[in-house]
Symmetry: C2
Subunit: 179 residues, 2 copies
């Protein structure tokens, strides 16, 4: 943040406001404190029989790699609504949600992932503008070495493990920075 979005001043510093314990974007002009907080990524794990739907990314980062449909949660929607919206936008997928399935923190990029598990209600899926290709994969057919994000890989691993017992508890996890 170079300029204060309240008053337009360029006297914005990243420093600790009085009474606070961590640095914020602080305006020396009008005194406004600009908080920046983690963002929520919402998505689904859409399944049909023994197959799971994946999208091949048409955008960076990880262009050309495969992922579950997901994206930034928007204001004014619930996390489940956001997950369904992203599933439609990226994969033209219609999903009937069973339950919340994975909750992952990625603290080094300030993100929280909420992934819902749900069955496809039809097979009219297809690539939205942010996908090159969308397809259903069995566990064996999944391109395990071409999964875009560790959170998605772990969610898929949980799912295929849980399928063996047909029990799908919530899984929580943390993705740490790779050094």
């Amino acid at each position: 943040m170079k300029f204060c979005s309240h008053c337009g001043s360029d006297a914005v510093t990243f420093s600790i406001p009085e009474g606070d314990d961590r640095p914020r974007h602080l305006c020396g002009g009008c005194g406004a404190i600009h908080y920046i907080n983690p963002r929520v990524i919402v998505g689904t794990l859409p399944y049909l029989g023994d197959r799971v739907l994946l999208c091949k990314r048409a955008i960076e980062p990880r262009l050309g790699l495969w992922t579950l449909p997901a994206g930034f949660m928007e204001n004014g929607e619930t996390s489940e609504q956001g997950a369904l919206r992203e599933s439609w936008e990226e994969a033209r997928a219609n999903v009937r949600v069973d339950d919340l399935y994975t909750v992952y923190d990625i603290p080094h990029i300030n993100q929280v992932y909420l992934i819902y598990r749900g069955e496809l209600t039809d097979t009219n899926y297809g690539a939205g503008p942010e996908s090159l290709e969308v397809d259903l994969f069995t566990e064996e057919a999944i391109p395990w070495d071409e999964i875009a994000f560790p959170i998605m890989r772990e969610t898929l691993e949980h799912y295929f493990r849980d399928r063996r017992t047909a029990s799908y508890p919530l899984h929580r996890g943390i993705i740490h920075r790779k050094f």
Copy 2:
């Protein structure tokens, strides 16, 4: 947003960027798009025996009403770390987390709540700067008509119901605007 935080221009409109489907704060000067997304509130339900810890709020909104310790998740932390941090800041409570307990959406104020259930590890709790008072309450003693927020009331109701069977599954919910 009155001024662009990238270039300082006052030509910021709330309009739909090309290729998008909803209005954003859009700078007519440098073209920057400023996204605003939901925020995550993290907290705990701290229990000891048959009692739950509540904080009497020393700040608005809902000054003087009771709540579970919770607050905005910060960048760089996990949701569980944030929940423990808030429990310390508001109630000087040391909590050993059992599991994630409630996930609530409040779409009209763009918030997602993640409340963790956990046992107090000691009784050295006390009011932090944002609390007037902190105390442990049995189900009967809880000031049910003086709970600050519906999400907290529902979380407490879930807890005392689940205690009867000693089974604490994740509960999801949505708080809608009251008309």
